[in-house]
């Protein structure tokens, strides 16, 4: 906790002229590269996309009041860039790769019993009002950690669907998988992400 407070003070203490604010920019860039790398599974292409998005942002930097507006906008540009790259590069990942990855992670017996019902202690608990979490820095750190824990392809497909907001058809063509495969992967990523958030965030929140 003290670490994040220190970070905030540091950022707050600086006269923020956004893109000339190196700490803010560094952190923003780090997040963008991480996101783009996960999506494009190619460090070079990711750097290029981030660079282009930032350059686009520089042009209009003055018209943005505050970090939040700028960040939202930079990520919107990045999201479009990534969507373009993904659409151009069809069959980015070999279908066979995806399937073997799927098979490796076939095992959900830790969540469900052999009849397919929740194990008693794995049954999803109530999260109260989860939207309150969206305003807490600590929650986002945990969210990022949980996202990183997903098997690589699952995280990518989940982000394509829910963050880049490509539709199912586009994801299937881009990644080279069937609709059934896509559904299986999304189901699994949601099971895992949900469980991780519950164990590392929501159960603790409710207990206090």
């Amino acid at each position: 906790m003290s670490g994040s407070n220190a970070h905030n003070q540091l950022v707050d203490g600086i006269d923020t002229s956004d893109l000339s604010d190196t700490i803010f920019l560094k952190e923003l860039r780090r997040q963008m590269v991480k996101f783009a790398t996960l999506q494009l599974s190619n460090a070079e292409a990711a750097e290029d996309a981030v660079q282009e998005a930032l350059m686009g942002a520089m042009k209009n930097a003055k018209s943005f009041a505050g970090h939040a507006a700028l960040k939202t906008w930079v990520f919107a540009i990045l999201r479009n860039k990534i969507a373009d790259v993904l659409r151009q590069k069809q069959r980015l990942v070999e279908a066979s790769n995806l399937l073997s990855d799927e098979e490796e992670n076939e095992d959900f017996t830790e969540l469900f019993n052999n009849k397919g019902y929740w194990h008693r202690d794995e049954r999803p608990a109530s999260w109260g009002n989860p939207h309150e979490a969206l305003h807490q820095n600590q929650f986002w750190k945990i969210f990022e950690v949980c996202l990183e824990k997903l098997p690589g392809h699952q995280a990518r497909v989940f982000m394509m669907k829910e963050f880049i907001e490509l539709d199912a058809k586009e994801i299937c063509t881009t990644v080279g998988i069937s609709n059934t495969n896509l559904n299986v992967m999304l189901h699994r990523s949601r099971l895992r992400l949900r469980e991780c958030l519950e164990n590392t965030w929501f159960i603790k929140e409710c207990a206090t």
Binding site: A68, K71, N183, H187, E198
Partner: protein
């Protein structure tokens, strides 16, 4: 009766497509009797919302703190 694995699969798919009437009915019956899947059905749409809000985090808090 539909089991929890199947129910969570349908809940997940409902984020991508409209479920058929019979799917909706079986799912609803299951959720009536299963608190775990009932909670799951609220949490899954939230995961999507959180993912979309991801890009704005932290900076929002910083700006709120300043005002």
């Amino acid at each position: 009766m539909m089991n929890c694995y199947e129910a969570t699969r349908l809940i997940s798919e409902s984020q991508e497509r409209d479920l058929s009437v019979s799917e909706k009915v079986t799912l609803r019956v299951h959720i009536l009797m299963c608190t775990g899947c009932k909670n799951f059905s609220v949490q899954i749409p939230f995961l999507g919302q959180a993912m979309r809000a991801f890009a704005n985090y932290r900076s929002e808090d910083e700006d709120e703190g300043k005002e």
